[in-house]
Every structure is written in structure tokens, then in C-alpha cells.
Amino acid sequence: MSSTTTDDSFQPASFAFSAENLDKAQATIAKYPAGRQRSAVMPLLDLVQRQEGWVSLAAMNLVAEMLDLAPIRVYEVATFYTMFNLKPVGKYHLQVCTNLPCMLRGSQEIVEACQAELGVGLGETTADGTFTLSEVECLGACVNAPVIWIGDDYYEDLSVESTKALIAALKRGEEPKPGSQSGRQFSAPASGPTTLTTLAGGDA
């Protein structure tokens, strides 16, 4: 990771919010008391990323202008949070957790499966611009490890097979069901309920 200064050929010349997002942005800014508009910097950057998939320099400059901030203050925030993409990403941004709990549950194989299925390495985007594969730090879903984060959804309890199926479904343009891929409910015990078994009928 380094500053984007040397190669900025991918940076667009300008950025503008869509009419709908501009309304949202102004509503967000209005939430904060007068003189404290800078608090809206993260929601606005998020709005940018939802619109474009990533946060360009031009967009950061626009956010700075909207909030009456020095551009560097926006750069600081946008670069601090790794969730803001500072480079264009594919339509699906596969963020695989490789921290300890996920690793113990086989995240290494998940990463290899993704690489094999997509034909790209970590931090790379497929030639058709559909998939970007990234390695990320703990996503806070260790109880359902291993986990891949795509868009607003977590895909949990992954195995090599379910990862391949997930990618295949995305390639077909389907919307796979988020959450546990092993069939369990949320983070309930994988082997079925272990307490309150007498109430299994659910009529309590």
C-alpha cells in the first residue's frame, strides 16, 4: 500500500453525485449541528463508494468542498479505513478474511479456491472487470469462519466446494443467499441445538 501519486492514470477527471445520492448527501450533512459538518465525511465517502464502487481523488476533493474541509483531511480518513477502495474494483469485490480464526477453519484453501476459480491473485481484478479478490483482516464473524465479504453481505461457513458454487453463481449473474453456506441458522451450533432441546417444537 502506498500513495496513489505515481500512477494516477485510472483517476477520473471529475466526480459528481447522482441526483438521488446528492439528496442523500445533503440529508446526511443536515444531520450534524452547524459547524460540525465534517462529521459527515465517512457517510459521504460511503455514498461515493456505493455509487462508483470506489473512492476517486476527484470524489474526495468534492466531499472536501461540500464539507468545507481541506482535501488532505478527507484523504486522511479515506486512506485510514481499508474498507474504502482507493482504486477501481470489479462488480463483485470478494474480500476473504485470513485472520487467525478463519485461517484455523481453512481460509487458506478458500483463498486458493478463489484464485483458481477467478484466475487472479490477491489484490487483482479479472480481465472482464467483474471480480476483485482481496485479503482482509478480521471481519468480526469468527463464529462462522471462514468468511467472504461481498458488497453488503457476508458468506459464511465456507468450504472449498461452497466457495466454488458461490463464485459460479455470481458468474451466472445470480444472487446467492448470504449468510451461512452450510445450512445452519445464523451462528447456532452447527450440530443442531444443544440446549432447550425439549422446546424443539418451537411452541413455547
Binding site: 500500500m1 502506498s2 500513495s3 501519486t5 505515481t6 482535501p71 486522511e76 486512506t79 485510514f80
Partner: protein, 686 residues
């Protein structure tokens, strides 16, 4: 007031003092990197850890306010171990490149590592490196050396008010920088070099030229603007290597403008190092005796009314008094030190001083700027205005150029009509001034050097009087000068005497042939084409506009080459000191005039520096004063209808305003970077 014990010594300090400040008062040294007296507290380097009784772990003393009965220990094994731990972490990514680092010898990290560093590293992994950056022609960043103290970020954001630096990315990847490639556009950017505790930010033009221990340090005063910042001139051999600021809370705190710091390479270029006499249209090298004889003969052959002298913006008081005495004794009243034609200096001393004082800005509670852009005319003084502004409740309004001053202000317009309205109370800002306890106004040379300058000065006086700017114990009327020599010249009365000509009349007289000889004492900011057929003598340090037109050149000394007196815009008398000798045959300026007087058969009545200085005091007792004296109020300025032309700042290229900065390569680079190559090279006559 809380009482606490540090290392067994009791001290009572003001509430809100930090442990580190209390320890500093006791003279107990606590190592620090991020803390700086004049910057906001960050508390991120952790080097200043101390032990506080009843605290479970070591405490960062820079960020911890003292409490009643606190018992602090700064020299226990725990403290030593904690600091050694911090140092080891700081050194993990810091390169061991001290031998090729310009900070070597004056590096805080190097010094503290002597006390807290290990004798070997335990870190075997790869060190991080930061990609090379560029901050423009003045500051050289080598951010691999950065320890992330954020002093530069806090300075640029808070003090300079040009928020262009920040910390991007995080953790291991944190980088201090501009993120997008960008030259730092602050006129105070050089100060981050002094602030940087390591070699991450160093002086670019000075890079790899000298080591701090080889330098001879001479305390002096800056002359690139009228603030008179206190400086230290570092020399090696007979060459000025660099200039850095000295602490003077009354004047520059510890900041210095970029021109004052970086234009010193101009001291080596375009220098006049021997006398020249024009023969058959060409300047030919001559001896001192020959050159002086030519000038003396010419002076003697002309009637007193046909000779004139103009003093430049960097002329020292000693030279000006000698020139004045010489010309007065030759029967000439044609003297002027106002090259820009400023209509000022005839009234009481208060009419041309920055009466509030630079430190006094911090007490003010309303400010009106008239025809001035202090950011370009006096960046250090502008930082003081910003300092006051950041404390809040400080309405600022400007009548003049609309520009970024690094703080918010109300732009009332650029026309003098606004001033008339404020003076008669019909403008809303008049009420703001009247409501303030300590209101002040600053009138710049952009207003005073206009043809209606005396009317504008009169308007400013009227505003000062009607809006309560002048009262017991407070004088809010301020003139911001741009020339270091100006106040000294006005104090000495280097002005047209009775029947004498001012700068405009001298030039028009020369054009018409009524003036036979013009003596330019470092005066380059005039239109030399207007000197007509007059015999021109140029005495000065640089081959600039004046020397090109001259018939005789008498090589003088620059401000680093003489013991000379300058009076700053506040009326503060300060002295430069000889740090290096003038080049070649050049001499201290008053001595040249003394020798010329002798040749011309005039006795000046002083033969040494003490004698000249006594003469200064004789002419005006303020030259004996330590610090600025309070100047008495009185009538000045003129009545009348000001012109409707917009008010402008006299400086549009901060980096080139005088012969030294015009000769400087660094300043030329700055001009190209910040102003644009095609920019006209003008001075205050622009």
C-alpha cells in the same frame, strides 16, 4: 494552584500545566519528539513517559495535566526501561543513515538515542521504506526517516493555516505527506525543517553542503521584510550557508518566512565586489580612490539643489545617517527613503509605526486591514494574526485585495469609499470596531504608496479616532511596512528637507535635467529609465537595476556582512552583526560614505561605528531605546476625496522583492513553482 513533587522537588504551577511543562520549569529534562511549546499537544511519540505514583503504568508527561499532590518520578529504572522500549520501537523503521543525513549532529533522535538507545538492534525483519516525495523547491522530504511525530502537520495546519500535510494510511503504512504530489504553498513552509526532530524534512538548497558543527553561528536580524525577524546566520569560511530563526516572542516567536530563510544563496550571486566607473559608455573596474574621486569631483561641481539621494529598502540606519549628513552639508535637501512614493513620514512617529506591536495583535479583538496582504508582505506577522484568529472572537475585515490570508475575514470591497463609510460611521464594520475593547487596523503600503496615499492615511486616522482605536494604554493604529529600511529612514528624517524634492520630483527632475547627480543607496525599486541624463552613483551589494544604470558603482555590504541598525515596522531598533566579510573590495556602507565625504571635503564628525551610532541617537533618541517606545499620537494625513481605484497589495511575487532575492536561484525556482515563469520580475515599484 496545584502543588506537585517531581523527583523529590516540590513545585507549584498554574492549573492546566502539564507534567512536562512543570518539569521544564524545574530544569528537569524529559525527552520528547512530538511535543513542541508552540504547537498543539499530540502525545503520540510516547518518549516522555514518566512514573506517577498511584498510576498503574507510565504516563506521557506532555499530555498529562498536573494534579494536586501528584508525585512524579522521571529517573527511575521503570522510566528508563519504558523510554528504552519506546526508542527501540522508533528505531525499528528508522534507517541507520546518519552519515548521509543532513540532520546529523543536530538530530533529536540521534541525541536521545545516545541516552535511551540500545547498543544493538534486536529487529531482524525488513524495515519499511516510503516512496520518495516532493514538497517543492524548499523542503526536502525523506519520509523513510519519519517517526510520525506530526509536528509538521500541526504547524502547517494550525500555525501556517495552509492545511496541505496530513497522515495518510495507517499503522505500519502511515505516511506523513500531501498524498497528492504538491509543493507546500505556505510562505512559512521552511519552519517545518526546524520542527522536524529527525532528518525527514531538511533544507533542500542546503542539502549536503555543511555539517552543523562546522558552522559559525552569528546572531542577527532579517531584512527581507519590515518585521525584523531575529535570525541566526550560519557561516562556513566566508560563506553564508543557511539562515535559521532565533526565538523572540515579541517579534517572530520562532518562525521565519521562506524568503528570509532561503534567499541567502542570492548573497553569492550578482555581487558587486569592486568599484566601477563608466568610461565611454562602459563600466570599467576602478580602484576605490579613483571611483571616490570621480564622485567627489562631480558632487563638488554641482550646486546643492542639483544633487539628490535615494535610500533603498535594505539600507541600514548608519549608512542613511551618513548619506543624509553628507548631502545636507553639501546643501542638498533632495533626500528620500520612500522609493515606492509612500506618502508617509511627515507626521508624528505614531503615524508610521505598527503601534500595537506584533505581540500586541494577540490582545486585539477586532481587525481592519487596509490595502494590505500581510501573508505576502509579512508572513510571520500574518501567522500572529492567525494565532489570534484561532482563539476566536476576532472579527477581521479587509479593504483591499481579495485573497487567501489563511484565516477567514469579511471582504468589504477594494475601494476607498468603504473607508469613508467606516470613518463616518455609516458602515456596519464601524460598529464592530466601536464595540471592541481593543480594536486595531493595519494600513499597508498598497494604500500609502498611491497618489492619494496621504488622504487614505488621513481616513485611517479618522477611523482610528472615531472608532476608539486610540485610547489610554492602547493604540490600534498600525502601518505595515514592507521595507526593512523604511522606519529607520523615517526616524532619521531621510526625507525631503525644506524646498527639497521627494522621489517623484527627483526622478522628474532627472528627466528634465534639473537634477545632475542621483546617489542610489541600494535603491533598485525605482524606474531607472527616468534617471535621464543624470550622473548616477550606485552604492549597494548587488548588480541589480540601479547598478546597471550607474555611472559609478561603489560596492557595499549585504546585511550579513555588516554591523548595522534596522528599525522594524513596530519601531524596534535591532542590529545585524557581521557574519562574513563583504566580498572582494566591498565595504560597509557608512564607511564608503565617510570616505566619500572626506574626498568631497566634508567633515561628517565620526570615524568609527560608535561615533555613527552616537550620531544616530543625536538625530533621533529612539535609536538608544531598547524595544519599541510608545509613540505619541498627533495629527497627520490629509483630507480629501480618495480615488476610486481598487486598493492592492504592493507585493504580487513574495519570492522576489529585492536585489538579494532576485539574485537567488532558490527564489527563482519558487517563483516558477508558485507564481509562474512568465511572471514579471518586479519589486515594490510594481
Amino acid at each position: 494552584m496545584p502543588k506537585l513533587t517531581i523527583d523529590g522537588r516540590e513545585i507549584e504551577v498554574e492549573a492546566g500545566t502539564t507534567i512536562m511543562q512543570a518539569a521544564d520549569q524545574l530544569g528537569i529534562e524529559i525527552p520528547r519528539f512530538c511535543y513542541h511549546e508552540r504547537l498543539a499537544i499530540a502525545g503520540n511519540c510516547r518518549m516522555c513517559l514518566v512514573e506517577v505514583e498511584k498510576s498503574p503504568k507510565p504516563v506521557a508527561s506532555c499530555a498529562m495535566p498536573v494534579g494536586e499532590g501528584m508525585v512524579v518520578k522521571t529517573d527511575t529504572p521503570t522510566v528508563l526501561k519504558a523510554r528504552k522500549g519506546v526508542m527501540e520501537f522508533l528505531l525499528i523503521n528508522h534507517p541507520l543513515d546518519c552519515p548521509i543525513c543532513d540532520q546529523g549532529g543536530e538530530c533529536d533522535l540521534q541525541d536521545e538515542a545516545m541516552a535511551y538507545g540500545g547498543d544493538r538492534g534486536r529487529y531482524k525483519e525488513e524495515k519499511r521504506a516510503v516512496k520518495e516525495k516532493s514538497y517543492g523547491p524548499l523542503v526536502k522530504p525523506i519520509m523513510t526517516r519519519c517517526i510520525h511525530c506530526t509536528r509538521c502537520v500541526r504547524f502547517i495546519t494550525d500555525v501556517a493555516g495552509v492545511p496541505e500535510l496530513g497522515g495518510t494510511f495507517r499503522g505500519e503504512h502511515l505516511e506523513i505527506g500531501t498524498y497528492v504530489e504538491k509543493a507546500l504553498s505556505s510562505e512559512l513552509s521552511g519552519n517545518i525543517i526546524d520542527l522536524c526532530p529527525v532528518g525527514a524534512l531538511t533544507n533542500k538548497p542546503y542539502a549536503f553542503t555543511a555539517r552543523s558543527w562546522e558552522l559559525k553561528k552569528t546572531e542577527s536580524v532579517d531584512v527581507f521584510d519590515a518585521v525584523g525577524a531575529n535570525i541566526r546566520v550560519d557561516t562556513r569560511g566566508n560563506q553564508v550557508m543557511r539562515v535559521i530563526p532565533r526565538v523572540n516572542d515579541e517579534v517572530n516567536e520562532e518562525w521565519l518566512g521562506d524568503k528570509s530563510r532561503f534567499a541567502v544563496d542570492g548573497l553569492l550571486r550578482q555581487r558587486l565586489d569592486r568599484p566601477y566607473v563608466r568610461k565611454d559608455g562602459k563600466l570599467v573596474a576602478a580602484s576605490w580612490g579613483e571611483a571616490l574621486a570621480v564622485v567627489a569631483d562631480k558632487l563638488k561641481s554641482l550646486d546643492g539643489g542639483k544633487i539628490a539621494a535615494l535610500a533603498g529598502d535594505m539600507a541600514d540606519a548608519e549608512a542613511m545617517v551618513a548619506a543624509k549628513d553628507l548631502f545636507t552639508k553639501l546643501g542638498s535637501a533632495n533626500l528620500d527613503c520612500r522609493q515606492d512614493g509612500a506618502r508617509i513620514g511627515t507626521g508624528p512617529r505614531a503615524s508610521y509605526l505598527f503601534n500595537t506591536g506584533i505581540a500586541g495583535i494577540e490582545e486585539a479583538d477586532a481587525l481592519l486591514l487596509i490595502g494590505t496582504n500581510p501573508r505576502k508582505e509579512a508572513p510571520v506577522l500574518n501567522a500572529r494574526i492567525r494565532k489570534r484568529y484561532t482563539k476566536g472572537k476576532f472579527p477581521i475585515a479587509s479593504v483591499g485585495p481579495r485573497t487567501n490570508l489563511t484565516y477567514k475575514y469579511e471582504h468589504l470591497g477594494a475601494e476607498a469609499a468603504v473607508l469613508t463609510a467606516i470613518a463616518d460611521g455609516s458602515h456596519p464594520f464601524a460598529a464592530t470596531l466601536k464595540a471592541a475593547q481593543k480594536p486595531m487596523l493595519v494600513i499597508g503600503q498598497g494604500a500609502l504608496s498611491r497618489l492619494d496615499g496621504d488622504i487614505l492615511l488621513g481616513l485611517a486616522r479618522k477611523i482610528a479616532e472615531t472608532c476608539g482605536l486610540v485610547k489610554d494604554g492602547w493604540n490600534g493604529f498600525n502601518v505595515l511596512h514592507t521595507a526593512a529600511a523604511r522606519v529607520g529612514g523615517l526616524d532619521l528624517g531621510f526625507l525631503p528637507g525644506s524646498g527639497g524634492r521627494d522621489v517623484e520630483a527627483i526622478l522628474s527632475g532627472a528627466e528634465k535635467g534639473e537634477i545632475g547627480l542621483v546617489y542610489l543607496l541600494g535603491a533598485d525599486e525605482i524606474d531607472t529609465k527616468r534617471l535621464g541624463q543624470a550622473f548616477v552613483v550606485y552604492q549597494g551589494s548587488h548588480g541589480d537595476a540601479g547598478a546597471h544604470r550607474a555611472d559609478v558603482i561603489l560596492p557595499g555590504a549585504a546585511y550579513t556582512e555588516k554591523d548595522a541598525t534596522f528599525v522594524n515596522t513596530e519601531g524596534r531598533v535591532q542590529h545585524t552583526r557581521l557574519a562574513v566579510f563583504p566580498p572582494g573590495e566591498a565595504k560597509e556602507d557608512w564607511k564608503i560614505l565617510r570616505a566619500l565625504a572626506e574626498q568631497a571635503g566634508v567633515a561628517l564628525g565620526y570615524d568609527d561605528l560608535a561615533g555613527v551610532r552616537a550620531r544616530l541617537v543625536e538625530v533621533n533618541p529612539v535609536f538608544a531605546a531598547e524595544g519599541p517606545a510608545v509613540a505619541a499620537w498627533g495629527a497627520f494625513g490629509a483630507e480629501g476625496q480618495p480615488s476610486s481605484d481598487p486598493l492592492e497589495s504592493p507585493i504580487d511575487n513574495y519570492y522576489m522583492t529585492d536585489p538579494i532575492s532576485r539574485a537567488s536561484q532558490t527564489m527563482a525556482e519558487c517563483t516558477a513553482t508558485f507564481v509562474g515563469c512568465a511572471h514579471k520580475r518586479t519589486g515594490t515599484n510594481g
